[in-house]
């Protein structure tokens, strides 16, 4: 299967990749193997770390289900670059953790990075034209704090790194590339055109990589969709977001869209209603998930599904580049499935709802429902033992993250609230979990009524809610048959959630 290299640059990149992972976990299938590469100098970046952890969990789970036809959760392969290289036979540990390690940013200040003190006077003056005092003195540890001028310099090293070379070497004919960046941040705005340029050049350390030059490249550039609270201490000021966007767009006009470098470019943004805490990176820079990130992830899905004939690269230039925007049906502040455009809804609602119910059942019911046939009537039982093992524990962690992600989406503005959930928060106002307030679980999809048949009007005669769920699980278990417990578990739940969503919702 061909590969899709997804470069996530900066905080936005990390968050979009996270949304992508969630979508892939829900069952949206790409016909590619996804190789995420996250580029962010902010090592301790909260979003980055969350995403990496999630990717590792995804991989662990997905490995158990490789090619299992009954499970459609975790359907797509996600690999690190080093795994790609290892597959080809050579041993390498470049990017074995989804993250490109930028060198020299741990402790240096920018001026050390560019070796400012040792520049000759003319260069020093020229440099100070381009960079302010503040810029020169900035500590690079936490990224570029919204300064693409710094970012572009520092990130250049990526393109001279061993990792980049390894990437170029592993790039094959049918592979594609997708780059995620924000246009108003620090890292993304700089990194995207830089990366693009280097890929299109296709030369690393004097070696030409032809496939790379002709690569099909897609990108999403995320425009402002939030503010940060005003903080004098912080170097980040959201008032400058729009102007920076404009500046960047000018640059793109010449160097991205204008010269047909990119085969498909996706634009996304929103009216700015949200205000986040002003954190200059580090562990605390963890913004709530936003619907925009899902939309951006959908761009990747869309990109992966475009027919190769439509986006060809000829002689290093995109033949007929596509430019796309994202829209929804209703202009509302709380987006439900019905408010999405029909295609979007069709793509998302089954997968997300199925995974939602899967998540819900595991959280609320599974430990009490272990003596039903789906769990215990087969040689590989789902029992307390199973629940103590690594697979299940990883899955539980993943699901927790998923729920937190859903909670964050829910309470954000614009809110993405396809399900009627209560969001629980912790001491520092972070989302800790979500909760369901009712027993009639099929009324939880906002805007979608529970489908009832004539039997359910006679009380007591029809199965409802969790009982119905269990009945579907039992039936699904019969169809899935016997298998290893992990596979059987995922297979049963995949089938059951699909059939129950079919029966009760859409």
């Amino acid at each position: 299967m061909a590969k899709l290299f997804v470069f996530g640059i900066g905080g936005t990149g990390a968050r979009v990749v996270k949304s992508l992972v969630m979508l892939l976990a829900s069952g949206i299938k790409l016909n590619y193997e996804v190789v995420p590469i996250l580029i962010d100098p902010d090592r301790a970046g909260g979003d980055l770390n969350r995403t990496v952890k999630l990717l590792r969990e995804y991989q662990f789970i997905q490995r158990e289900l490789k090619d299992y036809e009954h499970a459609h959760f975790f359907n797509t392969n996600v690999l690190t670059l080093s795994e790609i290289i290892a597959r080809k036979g050579s041993n390498s540990n470049v990017i074995d953790g989804f993250r490109f390690e930028l060198e020299g940013v741990q402790t240096d200040q920018f001026k050390d990075f560019i070796d400012f003190p040792n520049l000759d006077p003319a260069n020093k003056w020229f440099t100070s034209l381009l960079f302010s005092e503040e810029n020169l003195d900035s500590n690079l540890e936490v990224g570029f704090k919204g300064n693409p001028n710094i970012g572009s310099v520092v990130l250049n090293q990526f393109t001279r790194s061993e990792a980049f070379q390894a990437f170029a070497a592993s790039f094959e004919k049918d592979d594609r590339i997708f780059i995620i960046s924000s246009i108003f941040g620090g890292t993304g705005a700089a990194g995207f055109p830089l990366l693009l340029k280097n890929i299109r050049e296709g030369v690393v350390k004097e070696q030409v990589y032809a496939f790379l030059q002709e690569a099909i490249i897609g990108a999403v550039t995320v425009q402002p969709y939030f503010k940060v609270s005003a903080d004098e201490e912080s170097k980040i000021d959201s008032k400058g977001f729009v102007s920076k966007t404009k500046a960047a767009l000018h640059y793109y006009y010449n160097n991205v869209t204008g010269n047909n470098s990119v085969n498909a470019l996706y634009y996304i943004g929103d009216l700015v209603a949200n205000e986040y805490e002003n954190k200059e990176g580090g562990g605390d820079q963890r913004n709530d998930a936003h619907f925009i990130e899902i939309a951006s992830a959908l761009a990747i899905v869309d990109f992966a599904s475009i027919n190769s004939d439509l986006i060809r690269t000829v002689e290093g230039k995109a033949e007929k580049p596509l430019y796309k925007e994202f829209g929804i049906k209703e202009n509302v502040n709380s987006i439900r499935f019905n408010d999405l455009a029909d295609d979007t809804a069709k793509l998302m609602r089954f997968c997300m709802t199925e995974y939602f119910y899967f998540n819900l059942f595991l959280k609320e019911k599974l430990s009490a429902a272990l003596n039903n046939p789906y769990a215990s009537a087969y040689s590989n039982k789902i029992d307390k033992n199973f629940m103590d093992q690594a697979f299940y524990k990883t899955l539980t962690d993943f699901n927790k993250s998923y729920r937190i992600w859903m909670g964050e989406l829910h309470r954000n503005k614009v809110s993405f609230c396809p399900f009627n959930i209560e969001v629980h928060t912790g001491t520092r106002q972070e989302v800790t979990d979500i909760h369901i307030g009712t027993e009639s679980i099929f009324s939880l999809v906002n805007g979608v009524a529970e489908k009832k048949n004539w039997i359910s009007h006679i009380p007591g005669l029809d199965k409802s809610n969790y009982e119905l769920f269990i009945a579907h699980l039992n039936k699904a278990a019969e169809k899935v048959g016997d298998s290893t417990s992990n596979k059987r578990f995922m297979g049963v739940f995949s089938k059951a959630t699909r059939s129950i969503v079919n029966q009760k919702l859409f």
Binding site: A369, N371, N372, P373, S376, A377, K463, E467, I470, A471, N474, K475, E478
Partner: protein
């Protein structure tokens, strides 16, 4: 039919001449058939018609077993009584002792049929004893 069930019933209960009257009037055949069929119907009811996860614990099964028992007891008292009264034969306490045995036999059928027929039930195949 009568000859088939007679040894089964008389294994549990034989008293002259009540048992001979039962035999002569074909009561064994009738009751035996009822026992098998009604137990079969209850088994079908529990495992395939009701077939609910919330009604598949062992005590739910025991409830159905109990209903089957009572049904068999009633039939086991009622049918011989009506038949014999119509012929002018009289007995009294024998009916109830026999009805008890009939109910036991029906329960045996119910248990056997449960274990034999439960395998295709999606929600109750592990009732009453998981396999």
């Amino acid at each position: 039919m009568n000859e088939m069930f007679a040894p089964l019933y008389e294994f549990f209960h034989y008293s002259v001449p009540f048992s001979d009257d039962l035999f002569d009037e074909g009561v064994y055949g009738t009751l035996g058939l009822y026992a098998v069929l009604i137990s079969f119907a209850f088994v079908m009811l529990f495992y395939y018609v009701i077939n609910r996860p919330a009604f598949s614990r062992w005590y739910h099964w025991a409830i159905i077993l109990g209903i089957n028992f009572l049904t068999a007891f009633s039939l086991g008292a009622f049918i011989p009584k009506t038949r014999f009264s119509a012929l002018g034969i009289q007995y009294s306490s024998e009916y109830y002792a026999f009805a008890l045995k009939n109910a036991l036999i029906a329960s045996c059928f119910f248990i056997l049929l449960s274990f034999g027929l439960r395998w295709w039930s999606t929600n109750a195949k592990r009732t009453p004893i998981p396999h």
